[in-house]
Amino acid sequence: MPGVPVRGPWSRSGLAREWAVAMATSGYVPLGHETIERELEELVDVLFDVLLAEPFAPAPAEEVGTGLADLGFTTPTGLSRTVELLVRRLPAHPELLDVHRLPDKVASVVGALTDSYAFAVRNFVFDQQEELKRALLRAKERAERQLWLSEARFREVFSGSPVGIAITDVDGALVETNWAIREMLGYSGAELAGRDLVDLVHPDHAAAVREAYRSLNEGVSGRLRERGQLLHKDGDPVWAYLAASVLRDANGAPRYHVTMVEDITELRLLQHQLTRQNLHDPLTGLPNRQFLVSRLTDLFARPEPVDLTLFLLEVDGLAVVNEGLGHDAGDALLRMVAHRLHGLVGEDPRAMLVRTGGDEFAVAIEGEPPELARWAADINAELAEPIYVGEQGIAASVSIGIVRQVAGELVFASAAELLRAAEVALRRVTVRGKRQWGLFDPNLDSRERARAGLAAAMPGAWENGELEIRFEPAVAADGRQPLGALATLAWNHPKRGLVRHGECIALAEQTGLSVPIAQWVLRTALERARQADSDVPVAVPLTADQAHDPDLVGTVGDLLAGLDFGASRLWIGMPVSALRDEQGEARDNLQVLAATGVNTYLHGFGLGYEDLACMEDLPARAVEIAPDLVQRLARNPGTVVERAVRDLVPLVREHGAGVLVDGIETEQQAEWWTRLGVDALRGPLFADTSW
């Protein structure tokens, strides 16, 4: 049946289908199964054409081998499956039954097919290899170009950078250096090549730098940043900032280091100068308070307390020199003090001399302190030698506050505490006078602290109504009948209990509260007395500030008028201390008040001739003896003071003023003063007036 198409498994398409399955599993071709079948069917047709052709010529079968390879069937399996299939199917194929010498012809056809297939696959692989090589070449070219570009960029940076750059191998030997680093260190490139980078580092820093590179190699740290000193060829130190990173090969092993070196010598000098300016006093060249605090803070940072003596020296009377001779003289004096103090302690490595403030110097001595009294005397002896400013010879003296920290005895929590203690000691000695010295007393300090705490709490207490006005009676010395009521201030402290008038006033004066409180006392006292069902005289003791107040007369006048309070019922007391001073307004105030009909008296009256002079000069109707004097006489009977008092009272009375005694605590005291002939008494012995 030549030429007749046959269906079913023995059809040409059936063979093609079978072939397609065999080929598809021999390797991957990116074609749909139907496409493969269709393509193979064409090849089957070619084979049949060759086998059926007369005369027989196998050459066209080569097309089939090439065709298979072109379809992408390129595996050895593909060939063997093809041969196996064709050799089995073709000789028995119904369509070819009549072909003469069919097996020979099939063999020839398969031979031609395999030849061409092998040739085609060989070329296919050659092509692919060629393609791959082109790809490889291209990739390499690109990589090299990128390398070249990055190299070129690096070169640019390397040679143009003002930052020194050194490339070293892992052992630290210099492979390459740029201009900047050669310039910085004074070597030529040839001189540096092969040298150990660490040799260029100052011996003090070499070990640290070497260690840093080692940890860089080991990958402990990714980058090195060190500040250190390098050595210039001529031996000068070069302060530099080193930043290094490691270059690793493809396997991650360190191959080179790139070290950037920035010369910071100039920067360091500038920094040093700035630091010096910040920590030094320009007038004397001595370190300043900042410096002292920072050094003391360092000392306090040590694990064990350090034995330490701090002297705080205040130049006596600097203001007098400044005002009297001008600030140039004052400055010269300060320079002189600085110079001489430096001569005394400058050579002692344990001592530090600083100027802590305008007229204040400090000397801190670590370890065993000098003998204090001797040292203070030496200083003042040294300063007593005058210097000349123009024609004027001036000399200085200092007051010295001293604090000692001794491990196991007295240890401060911080530098600030130590300084504060020295200031407390200095303040205490300056109160005593000039050219004094004193050691800080922690017990005294704690009392003062308590007092300061109390003073600080006073404004709040006033706000909260803890302050009140109490009327204390003044009674006639003979017969003890009430003569009048004294308005006093009292503080019902929730912890301390009652704080009495004198202490209240003293506390108020520490805080600047004294004027408003005193005003409040005056006004409230008058209001309360006005409301009370009585016309007993009322006395209000003023503070010194209040006595000097230029508005005092107006204030009192307004109050009297506003409350319709008779001037003659009011007694205004002024502290005699305020009246001794002829500068203030107090004397005028007292005279005007007296002229307006208000009774005046002097409180805090003592023994000095000045007190008597006040009494003589001023129209005060009475004096009040200070409670200190009462207590002193009670403690020390039969003394000179007692004799003076005995003489004083009659003198006052002879002058025409009444005498009131404050602070009577016992019946004995009351009787003693009564015998002396005073007019009135007051004090804790007598119960408060109910209003």
């Binding site: 599993t25 991957y28 071709v29 199964h33 390129t74 791959l132």
Partner: protein
């Protein structure tokens, strides 16, 4: 200059065997070097049926791409594309629709250069050198931006590549980052080696690859399914490559090698 260059590290070694060329060899390709063929032979000895595994995986890629095209995808990002072995995505896709755009991504410079040579005259396909483990580096690559529109659905292909991602690279977070940046309606087609079957042979193969530039990290079926977090898996889910939408008898083999690579396709939902 040569002396000055002395400290510069030696050139990257181009001749090291690469997984891409091993794959090419197993598929019957000629784009490989002696070192690749040597490694491929050791690979095939350790894991019998390697040629079929490669072929089935390649066939999955073809079916997956066609499936995505049927579902409207017109742009593809093929990560880990390797050597442009026969049957590349752009060939498959552009045969269906010449306007489809394809970007190939590989981290192997030779494979990328090769792909670029192949694509020189194709202005709808490009190949870039980038690494799967840097999602933003891949997605923000200028060539990706030039050809693909990330605001439109795309087909993200990770066929036979994710098993190169070691666990310490946080595979889930990596995929999550890709997912975040894809438009809803995008697809992920992924296939991945597993040691669920023939663990001993797989261990031997992993050992063979352990010193190559591309060590392999097989994952379990559950782990592979988890990679599709945020994607809605298309039926039949994560299955052996041969079982994913087979169309012809040649897409399958009888032996255990048919289950050596799992494959799946997932769709990013609006909320995914």
């Amino acid at each position: 200059m040569a002396k000055q260059l002395s400290w510069v590290p030696e050139d990257v070694e181009m001749g090291r065997p690469s997984a891409a060329r091993v794959y090419d060899y197993l598929l019957g390709g000629g784009h490989n070097f002696a070192a690749d063929r040597e490694l491929a032979e050791r690979f095939a000895r350790a894991l019998p049926g390697s040629r079929d595994i490669a072929r089935l995986n390649r066939a999955f890629l073809r079916r997956g791409v066609l499936f995505l095209i049927e579902n409207g995808i017109r742009q593809f990002l093929d990560i880990g594309s390797g050597i442009p072995t026969v049957g590349n995505v752009h060939e498959i896709a552009q045969a269906v629709d010449p306007t489809i755009r394809v970007v190939y991504v590989d981290n192997e410079p030779v494979a990328v250069a090769h792909s670029q040579l192949l694509l020189e005259h194709n202005d709808r396909a490009a190949a870039v050198e980038a690494d799967l483990v840097h999602p933003d580096g891949v997605l923000d690559h200028p060539a990706v931006h030039g050809l693909l529109d990330l605001d439109q659905p795309l087909g993200l292909l990770m066929v036979g590549v994710f098993h190169f991602v070691p666990p310490e690279r946080a595979p889930l977070e990596l995929l999550a980052r890709y997912r975040e940046r894809l438009a809803p309606g995008s697809y992920l087609a992924l296939s991945h080696f597993t040691a669920d079957t023939r663990p001993a042979e797989m261990a031997a193969m992993v050992e063979v690859m352990s010193n190559s530039r591309d060590p392999i990290h097989p994952r379990t079926r559950a782990e592979i399914a988890e990679l599709f977090t945020g994607f809605e898996l298309v039926n039949p889910g994560v299955v052996p490559t041969a079982d994913w939408h087979p169309v012809a008898p040649a897409d399958d083999v009888a032996g255990p090698e048919r289950e050596q690579i799992y494959a799946g396709v997932g769709r990013k939902t609006a909320t995914g």
